[in-house]
Assembly symmetry: C2
Homo-oligomer: 265 residues x 2
Amino acid sequence: MCQLLGMNCNTPTDITFSFEGFRRRAGVTDQHTDGFGIAFFEGKGVRIFRDNRPGASSPMADLVGQYHIKSFNVIAHIRKATRGDINLENTHPFIRELWGENWVFAHNGTVEGVGVCEECHYQPIGTTDSEAAFCCLVSQLRERFLKKPSEKEIFDAVVEITSEIAKHGVFNFILSNGHWMIARCSTNLHYVTRKAPFSTALRDDDVEIDFSKYTTANDKVTIITTQPLTKNEKWVKMKNGGYAFFKNGDLIEEIEGTLPEQTHV
Amino acid sequence: MCQLLGMNCNTPTDITFSFEGFRRRAGVTDQHTDGFGIAFFEGKGVRIFRDNRPGASSPMADLVGQYHIKSFNVIAHIRKATRGDINLENTHPFIRELWGENWVFAHNGTVEGVGVCEECHYQPIGTTDSEAAFCCLVSQLRERFLKKPSEKEIFDAVVEITSEIAKHGVFNFILSNGHWMIARCSTNLHYVTRKAPFSTALRDDDVEIDFSKYTTANDKVTIITTQPLTKNEKWVKMKNGGYAFFKNGDLIEEIEGTLPEQTHV
């Protein structure tokens, strides 16, 4: 299995504190060593860094850690390969243009039998179930809406299409178009919203940060991740079948999820 | 205007020597300072680095220079903005998935009146004429061929579609799907093929390299660029309306171009 990290904010924010804790799981504190990737939205553009080397030791990940890129929306992924070889084209996050926007997607879990529809608008480049599922999602969205619909219509359609895909396996994912971020939980996904009054956070590797030094009273930063990255914050554990729609760091819409948590984590 | 750099080889090759000379034109030896980008194919995947800062001083370009990524196909671009703001989404090369492959494109020149077709398969994300032209090209290819046709059919269709676009301005471009590279000239495009016996090349900033130290007798490396990068090699100057199709470092197919060179460089 893999691990996911997402950030959605109302002000451009440096994800380095969270990313440095996260990438330690890719070879130091855990074994997600089959590649890593991180995508930073910048305006309508995306900076995307991927490596088929472990996130903990990749020079590409070192650069990301040193570069302190500030962004409203970031999606990162560390991979423990279950389907598909270890190579660049199988490394998350995946990206496609939809309605003239960059759409970025990362997945944790395995979904069975997402066939490659040869006549579909979007085709997978690699061989993962994850990219096939993403192509299926964006193809169906494009079929339903020739032009970009409202955010509510997008959220509802994403829920409907991905709930169907999720019947065939474990489908935790994070999705963003640079304006909002959707998190979907099958088994493991947590989030926390940091806002005023900001306090000190203690990362699971005992690195401490005082967010009040880096923020203003208006800042809102939501972090979404497979397993909580800090010891002293209240992370919300999402339920199976749960969806959360974030914009400007706020939870705008939610489907709580009703099914009991699956045991095949 | 901008400048282009492409490399197509039969063995994974480090483009650093050419790239370091090329990026000096983005702020040191010339004024192409409105962003740079470089895309390296790796298997079916692509590593793409873009920055809206000058190529000569961008930390992203420093990383590329230090990282010595080896690739069969590379496309790079330094920008002098004529259309579209200076931002990430307007920075070449542009990339789209077509028939389950990454297609990468960079353009030098300006083409007028490439309208955004709202029902087309591919939509531009930024506001450049270049990305609009690329989207027009890949949309028309996908309309003509639901599945990937032969290379000959692709080359012929690219020539036909882009000759039409080129009627509306200056359309020098480099295009690759990771297997081959197509170069199209309106005004300025040169190429050289390096193969055994390899000798010493002298870059225009007087840096010398002895290629025989880094190559085997079977290696073939074609470099395509707006203006020759070395003083002592025989660069082929392409003609207006000329197309060259390279694969494994070889010139496979060519349309020489018959029109006189345009003067509005």
